[in-house]
Symmetry: C2
Subunit: 184 residues, 2 copies
DNA sequence: ATCCTCTTGTAGCGATTGCTACATGATGTA
DNA sequence: TACATCATGTAGCAATCGCTACAAGAGGAT
């Protein structure tokens, strides 16, 4: 592997951590380069442009989120919607997982305005989430399984908004209600 | 009323429409001034700084959202959680309401990074939403009413994320599932 | 007529943005 | 040993950012 490729690897890893900490607004080329320990000039030698840097980091981020979710709920279980929703909700309001959701929120917001490369990335990741849910879902009979999966995804993603906008406590109360409903 | 105050009024109204169309990334002082039909110099004569401009616009935006929601579900009805969630969900995926949600998403994302003035605004608006829901909620007995309200808010806000990230169709399917569940 | 405050325009400051031109050493390869 | 490609640093470009200094007309109060 050429030095260039090795550096790409290293830089992407460092920048994933940096973006999780600081978000998209602290993501100028110079700031990214400093966080990765290289010069901004070299950042544009390793990658074509800023969009490619961010795309690579987002791909790494999606992989990292998947790994964490799979560790919590493996792909060989089948859960009814209320149970799956409650389990997934408990995960995303974990303080350790919150940075991922905060960054994910920024990505979708940027995608909503069509800003490249976020629009494309956001669609791919969201599709991945839907499949992740559907694979673990034992759907309620008579109702659209994709619809149930989308509903669970909305609930879980929306919890991030509540957490950020209204604080941790309302989010926790909502999860407790979900868990109570799932127990029946 | 002084010309200054009249201009403030006019500018805020024009900028609300502008931000709904173009989002926070097209909100430099010069762009805002052009959209409001004034010079950037005067924008900073009417308002103290950019943060005050945005804060005023966000307040107007929150009022406008409230009015639309109240028109759809007045404050003298009491609905069980599933029904209220389904009704509210149907509203927010309306193409006419979507610009509000898209902008709201950007605001919360910025608030997640503590960027003024969004952090404060986001908290206030989110609290307002929670109260709006709780007032119209006939809560399920034995479960925390605020928790149920927060869950509904998460579901509804999250639908916006699904709509933006995965497209209109999954969001519609999710709402149809909600409506089917509410019919029992 | 003389101030004084309100309103507005012109011009620009220093900082940051994404990105690039150019030169130079290092490392092979023929 | 000559040449070519890779790797990296220095310097800077044009554009945009939020914001401000300064001057000047407009209008009312004395």
């Amino acid at each position: 592997m050429s030095p260039r490729d090795e550096q790409r690897e290293r830089v992407v890893e460092a920048l994933t951590a940096h973006l999780l900490r600081t978000g998209l607004s602290q993501a100028s080329l110079r700031q990214l380069a400093a966080a990765a320990g290289v010069s901004d000039r070299m950042l544009l030698y390793y990658f074509a442009d800023k969009a490619e840097v961010l795309a690579q980091v987002m791909a790494r981020l999606a992989g990292s989120m998947s790994a964490r979710l799979n560790a919590a709920i493996p792909d060989d279980v089948r859960l009814p919607p209320a149970t799956l929703a409650a389990r997934a909700a408990r995960i995303v309001i974990d303080p350790e997982f919150l940075p991922y959701m905060r960054l994910w929120l920024e990505v979708v917001a940027a995608a909503g305005r069509g800003e490249p490369p976020f629009a494309q990335i956001s669609g791919q990741v969201m599709q991945g989430f839907l499949q992740w849910i559907e694979q673990r879902l034992s759907p309620v009979a008579g109702l659209s399984a994709p619809g149930q999966a989308a509903g669970i995804l909305a609930l879980v993603d929306g919890l991030t908004l509540v957490e950020i906008g209204a604080g941790h406590e309302p989010a926790v109360r909502a999860v407790e209600v979900l868990e109570a409903l799932a127990q029946d």
